[in-house]
Symmetry: C2
Subunit: 258 residues, 2 copies
């Protein structure tokens, strides 16, 4: 939606093309070089931050809608993207505190009484993971800008988005152990030091450098190669790779532990 007349039509007739009462919000995490960030949108109507979100076209699946919404903000297709939870507390958006009509006027759109956009809405939460150095964040008509924030420096978010981020991060951290999520952030063959850094950064805590890789090997999630990498005099650690077969089996039959 680029023009005012498109926006006007969206506010007035959007429910014909999008499913009302349901939105998608995306916690887009970015990793690079020991840093974990999250993409936040500046929400003009309220002068605060929230997760990038959008509505579901009546012709789209939820995954298609989430991919489109994430693409609109990151410019990237086919990110690692995972639905994690739907949020539906009745008071999750306090419309009585939001001057939506005034916001519409400000951006040049004629306010509509009882717009479909202001009715009770349940949001389907997705999380995504990418290398943030690859992304140029994009705003949209609701936001002034969209930017990466360090995971430990997130400002208080609008609506129930603090809870959404908390749950997204929790799911990412649990799923690290049965989806090959970290695979996208590592070279195909990596050292234990490298995978240790990615896991420490994503989990946000120190991991025992000796025990942690042992567990991954014990569970069959990574395997040792006979190849080494020369990184200095007398320093040539063994290389490892993900055992995608184990992951696929885990996903199919339920767990890596049985």
């Amino acid at each position: 939606m680029d023009t005012i007349s498109e926006l006007q039509d969206f506010v007035k007739n959007g429910y014909k093309h999008y499913i009302p009462h349901i939105s998608i919000d995306s916690a887009i995490f970015g990793y690079h070089d020991h840093q974990l960030k999250i993409l936040l949108s500046n929400y003009k109507a309220l002068d605060g931050y929230c997760l990038p979100g959008g509505y579901i076209k009546r012709t789209e699946t939820l995954d298609e809608a989430a991919n489109r919404i994430v693409m609109e903000r990151t410019g990237l297709k086919d990110l690692y993207l995972q639905q994690y939870k739907s949020f539906g507390d009745p008071d999750r958006i306090k419309w009585s505190e939001i001057d939506f009509e005034n916001f519409l006027k400000k951006i040049g759109v004629e306010p509509i009484k009882d717009s479909w956009l202001m009715d009770q809405t349940i949001s389907v939460g997705y999380y995504a993971l990418t290398d943030f150095s690859l992304v140029t964040p994009q705003g949209d008509f609701m936001s002034d800008f969209c930017a990466w924030f360090n995971i430990n420096e997130i400002p208080p978010l609008l609506f129930d988005h603090d809870q959404m981020v908390k749950d997204a991060l929790h799911t990412l951290r649990i799923q690290l152990y049965y989806y090959p999520i970290a695979e996208k952030l590592l070279p195909q063959k990596f050292t234990l030091t490298e995978i240790h850094s990615v896991y420490e950064t994503l989990l946000g805590k120190k991991l025992d450098i000796r025990n942690f890789p042992k567990k991954l090997v014990f569970l069959g999630l990574i395997k040792k190669l006979s190849e080494k990498r020369n990184i200095g005099p007398h320093r040539a650690p063994f290389l490892y790779k993900f055992d995608i077969k184990t992951y696929n089996k885990a996903l199919e039959i339920g767990t890596t532990l049985s």
Copy 2:
């Protein structure tokens, strides 16, 4: 909803009290004595089976709605209940193939043109786990009856409910390793044989009797007690219990493996 006039009002005005375009469907699993079952509802309008479901009151959280819906069918409060995924493929319910007006006439309700019940709907999937011997299944106005089916003898289900069951079972099986789900199905102190049976039944496969408990102990999910249970001459296996602290830590910080 017990009377025809209540039903009539629900079909006509239900969207004022319930959020339109969103439903909840529940995969209610039942375990007892080496058997895993699922609760299915006979859907009158289509003469087929589906998961028990319902709508969300505008004053309810999703969890509250799911608890109410599950209670209406099982008579049980506070079951182990977990949201696992939302389903929103545009063609998940083929309304053109459903003679909803005729169904309403059959049950004595005057059909409404373009009822809110027949618009595109996204469903939030919950799964529950209980001991099926405790449950007396209840039908409702949409179903003739509701009954337990063996997990390996599920008839083809209506809508996208085959996929819902598949995903619910998959989530249950993965979560067995980081939520103390099986705790509700075992005595507080149990033998390795007992926990082995519950896991084998829920996972639907044979587990190595020696390796499986070792992994649970290794991960700190169960711990050995000094107490034994006498079950026969020369047979007194050690008792174990869940280490709820490890589970809580896992839920809080992300995983049991770090």
